[in-house]
C-alpha cells in the first residue's frame, strides 16, 4: 500500500458517502513491530481480498496508552475510527459512554457463541449484544527456563512455589541469576498475579482481582503472596529496574539467568533467536492451578456511512474466521480464541496452552489477567499495580502492602 493510496483513502473517508465504494475500515491498533505488524497484515490482506479498503492507523507505546490517547481525541472530535484494538472491561467502559456499534448480527450468523469459551465470549458482549471480536488468547502465567542451565544444575521445572524457591536458592549458590526480571510496573504486576494465582488459588484470585472482595484482599493468604514477592525480589539481579522484558528474555537465552515469568509473547523472542522449545528453552505454567488469559480484541465504534458499517461487519467476520485465527496466532505466539481451530502447525508450548485452556475452562479456573487489563477497569487495576510495584521496589512489609492495597482499591472506586 503506497503513500498515495493511503492519502486517497484518507480523503475518501473525509468525503464519506459520496459514492458507494465497498466495505471500508480505519483500524486503530498498537501492533506495529515486525512480527505483530505482519500478523495484522494478514487480516488486511483478507479484508482487501473481500473487496474492502483498509486504512491503517497504528499508534504504539505504553501497552496501548498512546493509542487510547489518540482514541479519546478521535472520539471527542466526533471522528471515531471504525475498529479499535481494545480489550477487557475497557470494552464495556466505552460501551457505557455510548460510542460502540452493535455487531450482534455478524456474531449470530457466524455462531460465535458456540466456538468461543464462555468466559472469553463474556468479554465481547455489552448488555447482551456483541460489541467486540476476539483475536487471540495470550496466556500470562508462564514460566520460561533455559534448558541447559536447569540440566547442568539438576533442576526440574518447579511445580510449587517452594520448589521454585529451593531451585532459585541453589542457582544463586551456583552464581546464576535465578529470575530474569524487568522492573517495570506491568512486569512487576505480571509476576505478582502469577504468584497470587498460585497461592490464592482460582477462587481466591477471582475474589481478589475480579470482585475486589476486601476480605480476600486483606487476608493472610494475600500477605503470603507479598511475602513470596519479597522472596523473589532476592532472586533478581540488582540491575533489574526499568529493564525491557525482552532483555530479560535474552538473559535466559544466553544462560545468564535461569527463569523468567512472562506471557507467551516471550516465546517470540526465543523463536526469533532460533531457539527450539523443549530443547533450548522450556515452557511451563507457573506453580498452581488455573489459566490467566489476556485476550486481544477489536471493538467496533459507532460510525456513519454504509461503507464503514459494511466494513465493520466484514472485519468482525474475518477476525473470528478460522483462517485468520490460525495464521495470526502462529505469527504472534498466542493461541486462537476459537476452540475449533486445528492446532497441527502450532508448537509444543502453544499446544500446552490450548489444552490447559480447555481444561481450566471446564474446571472454572480460566481467569482474566488483572495485570494486562482483562479483569478490572483501568482505575482499579492501576491502583493495585501502584501498590505491587511500590512494595517490590522498597522495603515495605507485606502487612503494610496489604493495608495499602485495600486503601488504594477503595480510593479508586
Amino acid at each position: 500500500m503506497t503513500k498515495s493510496v493511503l492519502a486517497v483513502s484518507a480523503l475518501a473517508l473525509c468525503v464519506a458517502g459520496a459514492a458507494h465504494a465497498g466495505p471500508e475500515a480505519e483500524v486503530l491498533h498498537w501492533w506495529t513491530s515486525g512480527g505483530e505488524a505482519k500478523s495484522v497484515a494478514v487480516l488486511q490482506e483478507e479484508f482487501a481480498a473481500n473487496g474492502g479498503t483498509w486504512t491503517d492507523m497504528p499508534v504504539a507505546g505504553g501497552g496501548g496508552d498512546a493509542a487510547m490517547q489518540a482514541l479519546r481525541a478521535r472520539v471527542l472530535s466526533g471522528n471515531a475510527p471504525t475498529a479499535v484494538q481494545l480489550k477487557g472491561p475497557a470494552i464495556q467502559e466505552w460501551y457505557e459512554e455510548g460510542v460502540l456499534a452493535d455487531i450482534t448480527a455478524v456474531a449470530e450468523a457466524e455462531g460465535w457463541a458456540d466456538v468461543l469459551p464462555a468466559s472469553i465470549a463474556g468479554h465481547m458482549q455489552c448488555d447482551g449484544t456483541w460489541c467486540a471480536a476476539p483475536v487471540n488468547v495470550h496466556r500470562v502465567d508462564w514460566i520460561w527456563a533455559n534448558a541447559d542451565v536447569l540440566e547442568a544444575n539438576g533442576i526440574a521445572m518447579p511445580t510449587t512455589w517452594e520448589e521454585f524457591n529451593a531451585a532459585a536458592a541453589q542457582l544463586q549458590e551456583a552464581g546464576i541469576i535465578p529470575l530474569a526480571h524487568g522492573g517495570q510496573a506491568w512486569q512487576d504486576a505480571t509476576v505478582f498475579e502469577a504468584v497470587a494465582l498460585g497461592i490464592l488459588g482460582a477462587d481466591g484470585f477471582r475474589k481478589a482481582f475480579v470482585e475486589l472482595d476486601e476480605e480476600t484482599l486483606t487476608s493472610p493468604e494475600m500477605v503470603a503472596v507479598f511475602d513470596q514477592m519479597r522472596t523473589m525480589r532476592g532472586f533478581v539481579d540488582p540491575n533489574f529496574p526499568g529493564r525491557d522484558w525482552n532483555l530479560a528474555t535474552a538473559m535466559v537465552m544466553n544462560g545468564e539467568a535461569a527463569f523468567q515469568i512472562m506471557g507467551d509473547w516471550a516465546k517470540g523472542e526465543f523463536l526469533a533467536a532460533g531457539k527450539t522449545p523443549g530443547e533450548d528453552f522450556l515452557c511451563a505454567s507457573t506453580p498452581g492451578e488455573g489459566f490467566l488469559y489476556n485476550v486481544d480484541s477489536f471493538a467496533m465504534f459507532a460510525v456513519d456511512g454504509e461503507d464503514k458499517q459494511e466494513g465493520q461487519a466484514l472485519l468482525a467476520e474475518l477476525i473470528v474466521g478460522e483462517n485468520f485465527q490460525e495464521v495470526f496466532n502462529l505469527n504472534k505466539g498466542s493461541i486462537p480464541a476459537r476452540t475449533d481451530v486445528a492446532l497441527d502447525a502450532f508448537d509444543s508450548c502453544a499446544l500446552l496452552s490450548a489444552a490447559d485452556m480447555s481444561a481450566s475452562s471446564e474446571s472454572g479456573s480460566l481467569l482474566p489477567s488483572y495485570a494486562h487489563g482483562m479483569a478490572l477497569r483501568g482505575a482499579q487495576s492501576g491502583a493495585i499495580t501502584d501498590v505491587v510495584t511500590q512494595h517490590f521496589n522498597s522495603d515495605m512489609s507485606s502487612e503494610e502492602a496489604v493495608q495499602q492495597l485495600a486503601a488504594a482499591v477503595a480510593n479508586s472506586l
Binding site: D65, R72, L76, Q184, R377, G382
Partner: protein
C-alpha cells in the same frame, strides 16, 4: 478609516488574544470544571464537589510525583543555568574550533527524547553502561547505580534533562556575553580590574534579561518534562520518578480516570502560577521602569 488606523494595533492583536483566551484560559477553566466531576473515560459535566482532590491528596503516588516536581525543577533549572553560564564563559575565551564545540553542546536540543531515552537507559544501567565500562578498566569498586536505586533515580532524570537543555542555555548566555559593550570591558581592563571581577561585576549583571529568557525556557521544559521520564524510567523504580505530568497522563489515558487527571492538572497549574507569576511580574515591571 481614522478609527481603523488608530485601532489597527489592537485589531492585529485581537486574533491572538482570542486564541489565548479560548485555547489556554478557556481550557484551564474547562479542566477546572472537569476536576469537580466524576469523569471516567470521557469528560462528563455533572459537578460532584471536591472528591477528586480528596482522592488526589490521599494518593501516595501523587505525593511522590508532586515532591519530585520541586526537586527536579529546582535542580534542573539551577544546574542548567550555572552550567550554561560556565560553558558560555569558557567558550568566550577565544577558543579554537569554537563553532564545532558549540554545535556539540547545542545538538541535544534538536533530538526528541523518544529514543535518546533508550541510549541514556543503556548508559546509566549499571550492568550495561558506565559502571560496567569503568569496572572493566579495573576499578572494581566503581558504583554508578542511580538508575536502579529508588532514592537516586530522579537524579538520572535531572542528568538527562540537563544534557538536553544546558547547551541551549549556553547559547543564550554566549549571545549575552557577546553583546555586552566591548568599550566598557576594555576600559575595565585598562583600569586593571581582574577578569573574574569583570565577569561578576560588569558582564553578568548586564545580562539580566537573558536570565529571564533562560528561566522561562527552562521552567517550561521542567513542567512539561514527560517524554524524558517515560523513556528513561517509565516512572520507576516503583513510582519513584513520577512527575505530575506523567501522573496526569497515566490517570487520563491508561486508567480512564479523567476527573482525577484534571484535579492533578489544576494543582500543578496552581504551583506554576504561584512560582511563575511573581517572577514574570517583577521582571516585566523592572523592564518597564
Amino acid at each position: 478609516m481614522q478609527f481603523l488606523e488608530r485601532n489597527l494595533p489592537k485589531i492585529m492583536l485581537a486574533p491572538s488574544f482570542l486564541a489565548v483566551l479560548i485555547f489556554v484560559y478557556g481550557f484551564i477553566a474547562w479542566t477546572g470544571w472537569v476536576s469537580l466531576t466524576r469523569s471516567r473515560l470521557l469528560p462528563r459535566y455533572d459537578i460532584e464537589g471536591f472528591i477528586q482532590y480528596e482522592r488526589l491528596f490521599d494518593s501516595p503516588r501523587w505525593d511522590t510525583a508532586f515532591g519530585n516536581l520541586f526537586l527536579f525543577g529546582a535542580l534542573f533549572i539551577g544546574i542548567s543555568m550555572i552550567l550554561g553560564l560556565v560553558l558560555a564563559i569558557f567558550l568566550d575565551q577565544n577558543i579554537r574550533a569554537e563553532g564545532a564545540i558549540r554545535t556539540i553542546y547545542l545538538y541535544p536540543m534538536a533530538l526528541s527524547m523518544i529514543v535518546t531515552g533508550t541510549a541514556w537507559k543503556w548508559i546509566l544501567n549499571p550492568g550495561l553502561g558506565l559502571e560496567a565500562m569503568v569496572r572493566r578498566w579495573g576499578f572494581e569498586d566503581f558504583r554508578f547505580d542511580w538508575l536502579v536505586n529508588s532514592d537516586m533515580a530522579i537524579y538520572t532524570i535531572v542528568l538527562a534533562a540537563i544534557w538536553q537543555s544546558s547547551g541551549f542555555v549556553m547559547a543564550l548566555f554566549l549571545a549575552g556575553l557577546r553583546s555586552v559593550d566591548g568599550e566598557i570591558i576594555k576600559a575595565a581592563q585598562i583600569d586593571g580590574i581582574p577578569t573574574w571581577r569583570i565577569y561578576s561585576a560588569i558582564i553578568i549583571p548586564s545580562m539580566a534579561p537573558i536570565f529571564l529568557s533562560a528561566f522561562i525556557v527552562l521552567a517550561h521544559l521542567a513542567i512539561k518534562s514527560f517524554d524524558l521520564v517515560i523513556a528513561l524510567t517509565g516512572g520507576g523504580p516503583g513510582f519513584a520518578t513520577d512527575l505530575p505530568a506523567t501522573y496526569m497522563f497515566s490517570m487520563a489515558f491508561s486508567r480512564g480516570d479523567i476527573g482525577q487527571a484534571a484535579s492533578s492538572a489544576m494543582v500543578m497549574m496552581g504551583v506554576v502560577f504561584a512560582i511563575v507569576v511573581p517572577y514574570l511580574y517583577s521582571e516585566l515591571r523592572a523592564k518597564n521602569d
